[in-house]
């Protein structure tokens, strides 16, 4: 999304306005939006995730797609081939959208930090 080398160089040159990627965002999540943001809801229940023995890293907001995929795989076992491509694509798309949201969070954090610095120096 155009934030490859330029943003990292900018972060290296002025570290005080560079967002930290090893911790969650520091600003209020609802700041700056004209209407409140929707909350992210888990569509897969904890019991389902336990039943399919998902790893902790897989128990995110896309777990329901993964569970559908696993059900399809067990149904078509042992040779699923391309029978589960739809479910796999849905899971991949959900994960991709989640990654885009992470990038957007970074960009939001970066702009809020720049704004904060501008207000301090104004």
């Amino acid at each position: 999304m155009g934030t490859k080398l330029s943003v990292s160089l900018e972060g290296a040159l002025s570290p005080e306005t560079a967002p930290r990627t090893d911790r969650p965002p520091t600003f209020d999540p609802q700041a700056g939006f004209e209407r409140p943001r929707k909350e992210r809801v888990m569509k897969a229940t904890w019991e389902e995730m336990e039943q399919f023995r998902l790893k902790p890293g897989q128990r995110d907001y896309c777990a329901h797609h993964l569970i559908d995929l696993m059900k399809c795989q067990t149904k078509n076992a042992p040779f699923a081939g391309h029978a589960c491509d739809d479910q796999r694509g849905a899971w991949d798309k959900c994960e991709y959208d989640d990654h885009l949201m992470r990038i957007k969070e970074y960009e939001r954090e970066r702009r809020l930090l720049h704004r904060q610095q501008r207000k301090e120096h104004a």
Binding site: K4, L5, A12, Y106
Partner: protein, 200 residues
């Protein structure tokens, strides 16, 4: 031994025929080597009859036949003919050869230096020594090694805050705090509220 060619020829010329004594033989006939018996050149032709026979053997006209100089210790080759310098580039490029890659017809007589003047060679005399310069040598090496070293330095920087080629992203959002619950807690005791970018 980087002698200039004329000086080397003068020094290499023999002034005493020791070939007949079986010593100081040089050139391709001094060793039993890789010649099949019928391919080894015969002795130097003395009279006209031997010259005609040799010319017939090699398939060239008697008036064209000229053996290697007997006194030349490097090139002396019995009755093998001397064609001078015949290279790929000398020959007609538009003639219809049977071996087009070598520009030679089948059964055509080749000079004894044929392997030296092959078409797939870049030079006949080795490196042009007068064209070699130390600075040119250094340039050829440096224009490969310097970019290599620069890129190695750039790509092996361990500081994660510089030269990041990926899109920078915040940490992944999970519904529960798994790290806080590790190892024996239940993550359901530590839920996290996360928001998407969709507005109500």
């Amino acid at each position: 031994m980087n002698l200039a060619p004329p000086l080397r020829r003068v020094l290499a010329k023999r002034y005493l025929h020791l070939t007949l004594l079986g010593r100081n033989q040089r050139g391709p006939l001094t060793f039993d080597g890789w010649y099949p018996r019928d391919h080894k050149p015969g002795p130097y032709p003395e009279n006209d009859e031997q010259r005609r026979a040799a010319a017939t053997k090699y398939g060239i006209r008697p008036e064209d036949y000229k053996p290697m100089n007997k006194d030349d210790p490097i090139k002396y080759a019995g009755d093998y003919p001397d064609f001078g310098v015949v290279t790929f580039d000398h020959k007609d490029p538009y003639e219809d050869y049977s071996d087009r890659q070598m520009r030679r017809n089948w059964g055509e007589m080749v000079s004894i230096d044929m392997m030296r003047y092959r078409p797939d060679r870049l030079t006949f005399t080795g490196l042009n020594e007068e064209d070699y310069t130390y600075w040119g040598h250094f340039t050829i090496m440096a224009r490969v090694l310097v970019p290599m070293l620069v890129l190695t330095y750039l790509f092996t920087q361990s500081d994660p805050n510089i030269f990041r080629w990926q899109n920078p992203a915040m940490p992944k959002q999970y519904p529960y705090d798994f790290a806080r619950a590790f190892p024996f807690g239940d993550p359901r005791d530590y839920p996290i509220k996360n928001y998407s970018f969709d507005l109500e």
